[in-house]
């Protein structure tokens, strides 16, 4: 039986990827960001899973306006880092886990979540920056990854509660997979940021830190936060935070199990236009 061992939450700012790729991690501007992930890289080495289920959003890379799936699960054997206009990031190919992905797709669709199945997709910074932050710059990523894309580009995006319940369905699916796999689930994006209009550059430390607090202690109540609160308080792109609930809903306490242990928490402003937030929660 497979099981979810831990969940990881992190921002996926593209400039962080560029800073890594261009060797700028020791510049004073970037140093505090990467320092916040030193613990995480060691933790990844000590707790390498068999599979990472990585919830992210595509930024007009694999999905143009021709097709906008709300939830899309990657069932391919591998995924290429995308050329987002600056050339592809010099990072390893992402190896998939088609068997577990197909199993989760079947189980979750039967639980009434209408997933789109994707068998060919290039993955953008939304997926590769979290891998870089958690794993550094290896020749190959430490384990297979199942990419799971959520639409947060065109409004309306799915609600926090919908994402939380989807996480529960994913955890249920993982549990019924007939191999002793350790699976981590990652929720990425956020925290407060706005990339458009005269209000660009908005940051809300108070909102972000309350979000980190409550994500640990009362995630289901927090998941009921309406979309407009994200837009008003955390900026138009802060709405990416709904993706964190997919990971949080997959933790044991969502089904009455023990509360998770907070292994690491980090918050920093700024990385480019964005507040960086990060949590590691372990199931007990």
């Amino acid at each position: 039986m497979a099981k979810i061992t831990a969940s990881v939450y992190t921002s996926h700012v593209p400039a962080i990827g560029a800073a890594l790729d261009l060797g700028k991690t020791h510049e004073p501007y970037w140093q505090p960001v990467f320092k916040g992930y030193e613990y995480s890289k060691q933790w990844m080495k000590d707790n390498t899973p068999d599979v990472i289920f990585l919830v992210f959003n595509d930024h007009a890379t694999a999905f143009s306006l021709e097709m906008i799936p709300t939830f899309a699960i990657g069932c391919a054997a591998e995924y290429k880092p995308a050329d987002e206009g600056w050339g592809p990031r010099p990072v390893p190919r992402v190896i998939g886990h088609p068997e577990l992905a197909a199993h989760i797709a079947q189980s979750v669709i039967q639980s009434d979540f209408d997933l789109t199945i994707v068998n060919k997709m290039d993955v953008d910074h939304g997926l590769t920056v979290p891998l870089s932050l958690m794993c550094g710059q290896p020749q190959a990523w430490p384990c297979p990854v199942i990419p799971f894309a959520v639409n947060v580009v065109q409004y309306p995006v799915p609600s926090g509660l919908r994402c939380y319940n989807l996480g529960r369905a994913i955890a249920h699916a993982v549990k019924s997979f007939d191999a002793p796999l350790k699976v981590q689930i990652w929720g990425t994006g956020g925290m407060s940021h706005q990339l458009q209009g005269p209000r660009a550059g908005l940051i809300n430390r108070e909102f972000d830190n309350a979000f980190l607090d409550r994500l640990v202690t009362e995630p289901k109540a927090l998941a009921a936060t309406p979309h407009i609160d994200y837009v008003r308080e955390a900026g138009s792109e802060g709405i990416e935070l709904v993706m964190w609930f997919v990971a949080r809903g997959a933790m044991a306490d969502a089904e009455g199990g023990a509360a998770p242990t907070v292994k690491h928490r980090f918050y920093h402003v700024p990385a480019s236009n964005t507040a960086v937030g990060h949590l590691i929660l372990e199931n007990n």
């Binding site: 890379t61 206009g85 005269p198």
Partner: protein, 151 residues
């Protein structure tokens, strides 16, 4: 019955919803084409001619030629698509975001290093924060212009 759009009174903010997406379809699809190196080269070699290949409105084409991202967004553009124009021009996301505020690159960068734009006064249209319509453009240039207009 009309749709519920509770986000229309957020200052300096355009939510990319189904209506904006419909309006901006070809503008955004043009941006998407710039993900291919050969298209970037063709666009750079003759911007107007390349834009004329797309079923965009004249306003959308002029907004792109002027690199006025606020105008592009009003015409249905979405920032993740518009970012492809910035990539073609060799601009970072921070340069693009900053360009919509009227601040210089340095002013915007310094605002972010100082902790970013405050939400105070910027939650609802009609408050008095720096993202409100009557305080545009921002930065030293905007302040000088506003001072002149006031005098």
């Amino acid at each position: 019955m009309s749709l519920d759009k509770p986000y229309l009174d957020v200052p300096g903010t355009t939510i990319f919803d189904a209506d904006q997406s419909r309006k901006g379809y070809w503008l955004n699809q043009f941006c998407m084409s710039l993900m291919k190196a050969e298209n970037r080269a063709r666009f750079k070699a003759g911007e107007r001619a390349y834009l004329d290949e797309w079923a965009m409105t004249e306003e959308q084409k002029l907004a792109v030629l002027a690199r006025d991202l606020n105008r592009c967004i009003a015409a249905g553009g979405n920032i993740y698509f518009l970012a492809k124009i910035g990539a073609t021009d060799g601009k970072s996301f921070q340069q693009m975001a900053g360009s919509m505020t009227g601040m210089t690159e340095e002013e915007y960068r310094n605002m972010m290093i100082a902790g970013g734009r405050s939400v105070e006064g910027n939650r609802v249209v009609g408050e008095h924060g720096d993202a409100q319509a009557d305080r545009q453009p921002q930065g030293a240039v905007g302040r000088a212009a506003n001072l002149k207009a006031g005098a």
